[in-house]
Amino acid sequence: MSPRNKFLLGAGIIIASVIFLIASGVKETGVYFLTPSELVNKVEADPTFYDVGIKVGAKVVPGSIRRDDAARRVDFAVSDGSRQFDVTYVGIVPDTFTDANDIEVIVEGKYGRDGIFRATEVLAKCGSRYEAEYEKSKKA
């Protein structure tokens, strides 16, 4: 085999492995990213969506946060305007997760048959952390 073909063979193997790694990686680690309505509709249509890893991006319902500091547990409700459900999380929430008005969160975890979302991770979305903060105060 000529060096050129040997190289092409090697390159083909590398490219194939990259594609394989990407495809299998997406398949095995990919997580649905849904709004509360999408999630509620999905589980209603297809119960296999209960208790599988899912991410939800939503707004925290103002005033719904209940903190049990001693147990490091936080319960709150999230909503996208039309559907709403409760989230429970044990762990330390980030500083950006405050009782202030309408914070956005991304919660990762499983939605149970009891209608409660058990989060393994809570990100208070700072999609707007650096600038929208002031956009908000400007409007106020």
């Binding site: 060096p3 990407i22 990919g30 500091d69 490091r72 999609g127 952390r129 650096y130 929208a132």
Partner: protein
């Protein structure tokens, strides 16, 4: 002052457009006088941008809160250094900063480039001006003008986000920007070579320092970003595969690939098309990085703003990409390779694989970053991938790359003989195997960790062997002592030994990354006097006794500080404090959300990382997250070594290595090269 700033912006835009038009048109109409004006416009643009920037700085330092930007990012009680760096804290200012740096780089490129490349320069100026014009249009017409005034003048400003009030944040963004922006210069030269048809290696020589410079800035920027995330964000890690992080990593990867493949073009006249494509892709990725950061199309913990500016970037990305690739297509036949690959056991082949893997990593990172958008467009449902995806794909590829880091620099050009392979690799291979075996014997069971550390030892073996041989040769020939020989060795062959130092830095990074596999985190609730113990991966028992909370006021914040007494295996190890801070404005009113200051005790083996997560119901009973982070210190050490190596390769002066006829001398390894340069 804003009037002057506004004026300078408009003048800059007109200069940039003029320079671009006559730069591209001058050659076409065969008017050398116009081509000369283009170069003049490059300098004029830099002056306009300096004036505009000074005007903004004047507003910031003078607390002119009537300027919206000044009001939004500073306040009277903000420490002076942060007032100065608030210049690039927000989107509008950072766009101006971008124009400033780009125009200064453009002018510098005109000033320092050798007369040999005269024919390229009008095109270089035209390309730089076009990019600058785009940024100025975005600022002026995209609602991102930093000089906008407000109807009323507030008494005090909004203040700077506390998480940005960190020394790392003072230099991290400008370093990344400098990296992103300086990529424009090599891109401009590449386009100039394509347009002028001067496609010999001339343009490659002209951009060597620029590519190294932007690579260096990107490396520093990324490492500082990791450091900032580690000390400021409080989740105990330094890299989260966040879209914005990925966006900075992408051009670094393709730039690294280019720095290697360009050597093949210089030496062997191969890979011309590939190199051209890499420069174009790197430039596009640098714009893409800004687009991701600024558009908010992908939910990220650090996307900074959602604004229309994103559409400007997207449009520019498409336009610049199409123009560049059409140009490349038109010159395609003239970029024939001058040589063929002769053997798989050759430096060319090692570099080709290195390039493929780097581009493969870049592709997978891009794919993962864009996957939520792609899946939504194709399948109508948003699917995200996170760290597990990126680690799964990139750990094997990274290990392969680490292996090539050892092989590439030592294997002969063209075709390596068995003697060459034996001479160069026996010691490193034995070292690597020995270290992996030793670690397995002392109880390391993680396969990836063993592979990483074994391969790192292999690469260390290759680097050490090169230095040893070089020093020995100098010692024999000039009877120099070892330290003198080492310094002269590096000084006389800066490119080569600087490169080895960079590789040393890379392997130190890998060693440190593998350490994160063994990280331990414990979340606890403690009352004052209570103790918690954590066993570290190195077998130490760390104990933490909660001493209590103290509250006080500082310059622009109220602080609650929690102290823990640390003991390592029973021996006193000092006190660690972690703080909750509530920033206030000069009237004592709270601004921003509370933020956490992490308590870190750094060590060569492991860092202790304490986050005070607040008190329980107003009592002193408090929550903590305590993390033992093995080998994190080495991430920063790797960064420092990498930077020293990078600076070495590009340090001006030094003797240019005489290119010895490839093949004959390369086989003989170091001695031949040394004689070649010294003679």
């Amino acid at each position: 002052m804003t009037l002057l700033g506004q004026f300078a912006l408009w003048l800059g835009l007109m200069t940039a457009v003029w320079g671009a038009v006559v730069g591209f048109g001058g050659r076409w109409k065969d008017r050398p006088d116009l081509a000369r004006t283009t170069i003049g416009s490059s300098y004029a643009l830099a002056v306009a941008m300096i004036v505009a920037s000074l005007a903004l700085w004047k507003g910031l330092v003078g607390h002119d809160f009537n300027i919206e930007y000044v009001w939004a990012y500073t306040s009277r009680n903000l420490p002076g250094a942060y007032v100065f760096t608030a210049f690039w804290a927000g989107q509008k200012g950072s766009l101006l900063f971008w124009c400033l740096v780009l125009s200064v780089f453009g002018a510098l490129a005109q000033a320092v480039t050798s007369r040999r490349h005269e024919e390229l320069m009008p095109y270089v100026a035209a390309v730089v001006n076009t990019v600058a014009a785009f940024f100025l249009v975005t600022m002026i017409f995209g609602g991102a003008n930093p000089f906008e005034r407000m109807a009323v003048t507030p008494p005090d400003g909004n203040g700077l986000n506390p998480q940005l009030q960190n020394p790392g944040m003072v230099i991290h963004p400008p370093m990344l920007y400098l990296g992103y922006i300086s990529i424009t210069i090599p891109f401009a030269f590449a386009m100039a070579a394509l347009m002028s048809g001067k496609l010999d290696t001339g343009w490659l020589h002209a951009i060597r320092k620029w590519t190294l410079l932007s690579w260096l800035f990107l490396s520093i920027g990324i490492t500082l970003g990791m450091w900032w995330a580690y000390v400021e964000l409080g989740w105990g890690g330094y890299w989260a595969w966040d879209p914005v992080e990925n966006a900075s990593f992408l051009p670094w990867l393709t730039m690294t690939a280019f720095l290697h493949s360009v050597m093949i073009q210089e030496k062997r006249g191969m890979l011309k098309r590939w190199n051209m494509s890499l420069v174009i892709v790197t430039f596009l990725l640098s714009i893409f990085g800004t687009f991701i950061t600024r558009s908010g199309v992908i939910a990220s913990v650090h996307s900074f703003a959602q604004s229309n500016v994103g559409y400007f970037f997207l449009a520019f990305l498409v336009a610049a990409g199409s123009a560049a690739f059409i140009l490349l297509y038109l010159r395609w036949p003239r970029l024939e390779p001058e040589a063929k690959l002769e053997s798989m056991a050759s430096r060319e082949a090692a570099f080709l694989f290195n390039n493929l893997i780097l581009v493969g990593i870049a592709f997978s990172v891009l794919w993962g970053t864009l996957f939520p958008i792609l899946s939504e467009a194709v399948r109508g449902v948003k699917i995200t991938v996170g760290p597990p995806f990126f680690n799964r794909v990139n750990v094997p590829l990274g290990l392969l790359l680490l292996l090539l880091t050892g092989i590439g620099p030592l294997i002969a050009w063209r075709k390596a003989s068995t003697a060459n392979l034996r001479r160069q690799f026996i010691v490193p291979v034995v070292t690597g195997a020995f270290v992996a075996l030793l670690l397995a014997v002392i109880g390391v069971r993680d396969v990836y960790a063993l592979m990483t550390w074994g391969l790192a030892a292999f690469v260390l073996g290759t680097v050490a062997q090169e230095f040893y041989r070089g020093i020995r040769a100098r010692h024999r020939m000039f009877a120099e002592s070892a330290p003198i020989a080492l310094l002269r060795l590096i000084g006389r062959n800066r490119r080569r030994y600087g490169g080895y130092l960079v590789h040393l830095g890379v392997l130190v990074y890998f060693v440190a990354f593998a350490g994160s596999i063994f990280k331990v985190t414990k979340e606890v609730t403690l009352v004052p006097g209570e103790k918690v113990e954590i066993k570290s991966p190195f077998g130490h028992t760390w104990s933490f006794t909660f001493l209590g909370i103290s509250q006080y006021e500082a310059l622009n914040r109220q602080v609650s500080s929690a102290s823990l007494e640390v003991r390592k295996d029973g021996k006193a190890g000092g006190v660690l404090t972690s703080e909750k801070r509530q920033h206030v404005n000069s009237f004592g009113e709270p601004t921003f959300q509370p933020s956490t200051e992490v308590g870190i005790r750094s060590g060569l083996r492991e860092d202790i990382y304490v986050v005070y997560a607040g008190s329980v119901g107003g009592t002193e009973r408090s929550n903590f997250a305590i993390t033992i982070n093995p080998l994190v210190w080495w991430v920063w050490a790797g960064g420092v070594i990498l930077v020293i190596g990078g600076l070495t390769t590009m340090w001006p002066g030094g003797r240019a290595t005489v290119p010895v006829a490839a093949g004959s001398s390369a086989q003989a390894g170091f001695e031949a090269r040394l004689i070649g340069t010294e003679a």
